[in-house]
């Protein structure tokens, strides 16, 4: 396939996906719409990991922190400076990008476990200190956090209750756009350089890839993506607080991204749905009596399942759920279109 036709196929697929997904929550109530919007926000976070870890091979355990910075930045712009929401989003993303570049600096010298430790530290510092301390009240709006009522984006009225659907659609559109860009990035020159860094930094350096520039760019872009999702959080939830962006969310991002397949963009979407919708469906329908015992499925069950599934998947399926599905489909497709008419048994 030529690259143009590839691009067209991708655009077409994206449009189809967007049209289908945009309609789904319409028939449900505000709780489910909130889940859907949240799923997209988390999908942004997972997407940022696809870029950073899947494409560039840098491990990061603070992606939720970037999302949080985006959220607080946007909230601050709206509540303190009464800015238009679009401006607020831009500021949030910019703040996240800046932080990402800063976090990328240690990454120039460290990798693997040590990088994980540093990002872990950053997640904790932001979670416990920056997002919660008096000194940063100008940024966080105090312990109550910023409250955002309604906003007008692209001429659409949206808020966290009656007009949630509009927010969801805009978020979804942005996600599809960014996802498309990322898939294209994968095949582009920059993408090749990123992947070269992932495969072997030494080799990449000898081939002339400017490690500093690309690593910092990777961190910055990744943070910006997470921040983009986060910037819509105040609108969708009505307020910002530290807990959605705490350490355990970052750990969950890492876990679910790996579980779904950290190298693949659709895995991010899958992961977002998994994170936001599945637990709620479980808690909604998961109560009753079993063998004489009353039971109530809570979020903790879901968390156990994620942990166990992650362990199993890392042992058995290193490419993640999506990765595995994709590989099988590719094998099947390749076999089906193999030159000649022999039927090839797919292993």
């Amino acid at each position: 396939m030529t690259s143009t036709s590839k691009l067209m196929v991708r655009v077409a697929l994206t449009l189809v996906a967007f049209t289908v997904l945009a309609r789904i929550p319409a028939g449900f109530d505000v709780g489910f719409k909130f889940d859907a919007a949240l799923a997209v926000i988390w999908a942004f976070g997972l997407l940022s990991l696809v870029l950073l870890t899947g494409y560039v091979g840098q491990i990061s355990l603070c992606q939720a922190t970037f999302a949080g910075v985006g959220a607080y930045g946007a909230g601050m712009m709206v509540s303190s400076f009464h800015a238009d929401y679009l401006v607020a989003v831009v500021v949030g993303v910019a703040a996240a990008f800046a932080l990402g570049v800063v976090v990328g600096l240690p990454a120039l010298r460290l990798r693997g476990i040590t990088l994980a430790i540093v990002t872990l530290g950053i997640a904790l510092v932001f979670d416990r200190y920056v997002f919660q301390d008096h000194a940063f009240e100008w940024f966080t709006g105090g312990s109550g956090g910023w409250r955002v009522g309604e906003a007008n984006v692209f001429g659409l009225r949206m808020d966290s209750s009656a007009h949630l659907m509009a927010a969801y659609v805009v978020l979804l559109a942005l996600f599809c756009l960014v996802a498309l860009l990322m898939v294209n990035l994968h095949d582009s020159g920059a993408g090749r350089r990123f992947r070269a860094i992932r495969d072997s930094e030494l080799a990449a350096a000898t081939m002339g890839v400017d490690l500093t520039r690309y690593k910092l760019l990777a961190f910055g872009l990744s943070a910006a993506i997470a921040g983009l999702g986060g910037a819509f959080y105040p609108l969708v939830a009505g307020s910002v607080s530290p807990q959605p962006f705490w350490l355990f969310t970052s750990l969950q991002f890492a876990a679910i991204a790996v579980l779904m397949g950290v190298r693949y963009v659709p895995a991010a979407a899958l992961g977002g749905v998994f994170m936001a919708v599945v637990p709620d469906v479980l808690t909604r329908f998961g109560h009753g009596t079993f063998l004489g015992h009353q039971y109530d499925i809570s979020y903790d069950w879901f968390s156990i399942a994620v942990g166990v599934l992650l362990i199993i998947q890392l042992i058995v399926l290193p490419d993640g759920v999506w990765g595995d599905i994709r590989n099988r489909v590719h094998h099947a497709w390749a076999a089906a279109t193999a030159i000649g008419t022999r039927k090839v048994k797919v292993a």
Partner: protein, 453 residues
């Protein structure tokens, strides 16, 4: 790495089996470790629908698809009344006992025939000590079309969400006493505004003859700062020069440094209010003479532990020190403690009808929660009482409007353990009164009548 199809299926089944095994295993172990009675709720069918928000992501509860067109108009349908509330359960503060107090009340009501023949269903949501989760919970309650919110208890989030609920037309009965509850015509609090706690604590300090107290308050709950400022200003106005203000977090584990600071230093309030007016001489071990502590029940324990370790036993003046199960751990640390309560203390009013009903009903339906009762569960019980009274009076034409009408019409309602409550139209502030209880190591005793501001 490609595997055979059968292997893939086997692996998936294995994964599912392990998860199921973990789930069942945990359930089994749990049945051994929980105190009896917290698991099954047989009669009254009140636990109906529950909704836990997700852990790290405050996703709201999905309602049933298409539940927008509910059969009822605002929570009443045929034979059923739906009310609800949200509670900070996961996190540093556990308010599940307040939820269960209201549920116990409603189950008792259901057993006695319900309200005008209708059974009451209580839906609840976990707001996890997080403002966004509280918002999601508020939206959930709105989507569940509840008739009213009764007894909500969410220290971090409830203040912000009162408006969310009332703007959707839902009356809110009860609550902790956060400022928003006294400013909205659809909010019906049952206890005193926390602002008044500040005043009352300062006045009680004066009445006790406190000379140079140190102050410690929770700093990470948003609406506490004005209360703190009020307390400090009132202390200054009452002529009491306090020596130090320590702000702590509900999650703070060690109070050693806090105790040391209270004994020695001179921090001022970061939330506004009068500055410390006195510095204890280094050689004077009896200064500060009191600690004024505005904390949650679990934090009191940690404070007392640190004070005992330092062999420091100043008087302690606070509110809500009397949570049964936490108090078990205070033991010798209570030498000279005073606690402010907005309702009659159950410790020494066991003959009081309301107290007996309250203790008995909770013990009957939720025996595992009995040890966790405190003044905030008294708030919740009173809220349940107020709701039931107004709902009964509204008769068979029960709706949000008629309920609000009856609530507004409540005058001189006798709760049995507080001053009579009167509402009226417009914002409500029916309860300005406290009693003081004291404990010198042998239990809590009421030491005053109603002191009202």
């Amino acid at each position: 790495m490609s595997r055979g199809f059968r292997e893939r299926v086997a692996v998936s089944l294995l994964g599912a089996a392990i998860v199921m095994g973990a789930v069942l295993g945990v359930m089994t172990v749990r049945s051994f470790t929980q105190p009896a009675g917290t698991v099954a709720v047989q009669s009254g069918d009140v636990s109906g629908t529950s909704a836990n928000t997700t852990g790290a992501s405050p996703a709201a509860m999905p309602g049933a698809p298409g539940s927008g067109g509910s059969s009822s108009s605002g929570g009443v349908s045929g034979g059923k009344i739906t009310i609800g509330g949200f509670f900070d359960i996961t996190g540093p503060v556990d308010s599940s006992v307040e939820r269960d107090t209201v549920r116990a009340y409603m189950q008792a009501v259901n057993q006695a025939g319900g309200i005008n023949g209708r059974q009451v269903e209580y839906v609840w949501c976990d707001s996890k000590y997080d403002a966004s989760s509280a918002h999601a919970c508020a939206q959930y309650l709105i989507s569940q079309n509840v008739l009213a919110v009764v007894g909500l208890t969410a220290p971090l989030g409830e203040n912000n969400e009162i408006q969310t609920l009332t703007h959707a037309g839902i009356p809110v009965i009860g609550g902790l006493g956060t400022p928003a509850e006294y400013q909205d015509p659809l909010a019906f609090p049952t206890s005193a505004n926390f602002y008044r706690y500040g005043t009352a604590l300062a006045d009680e300090a004066r009445a006790l003859g406190v000379k140079h107290p140190a102050v410690v308050v929770l700093g990470d709950v948003p609406w506490v700062h004005p209360v703190e400022a009020n307390l400090l200003n009132r202390l200054a106005a009452d002529g009491i020069s306090y020596t130090d203000v320590e702000e702590v977090s509900a999650t703070q584990a060690s109070y050693t440094a806090t105790v040391f600071n209270m004994q020695h230093s001179h921090h001022g309030p970061s939330g506004g209010g009068a500055s410390p007016g006195y510095s204890c001489p280094a050689t004077d071990r009896s200064c500060p003479d009191y600690v004024i502590a505005a904390l949650d029940p679990f934090s009191y324990h940690r404070l007392f532990d640190a004070m005992e370790a330092a062999n420091w036993y100043p008087g302690v003046l606070g509110a809500g020190l009397d949570k049964f199960n936490v108090q078990k751990s205070y033991d010798g640390e209570l030498r000279n403690a005073h606690s402010l309560v907005p309702f009659l203390s159950p410790y020494d009013h066991q003959g009081n009808t309301t107290v007996r009903q309250y203790l008995g009903t909770v013990q009957h339906f939720y025996p595992g929660q009995f040890q966790a009762l405190d003044i905030y569960t008294q708030h919740a019980w009173t809220a349940a009482m107020v709701f039931a009274e107004a709902a009964k009076k509204a008769g068979s034409n029960l709706s949000r409007d008629s309920l609000v009408q009856q609530l507004d019409a409540l005058q001189g309602f006798q709760t049995g353990w507080s001053v009579p409550l009167s509402y009226g139209s417009g914002p409500h502030d029916p309860n300005h009164c406290f009693t003081y209880t004291a404990n010198s190591g042998s239990g809590w005793h009421t030491t005053s009548g109603w002191i009202c501001s």
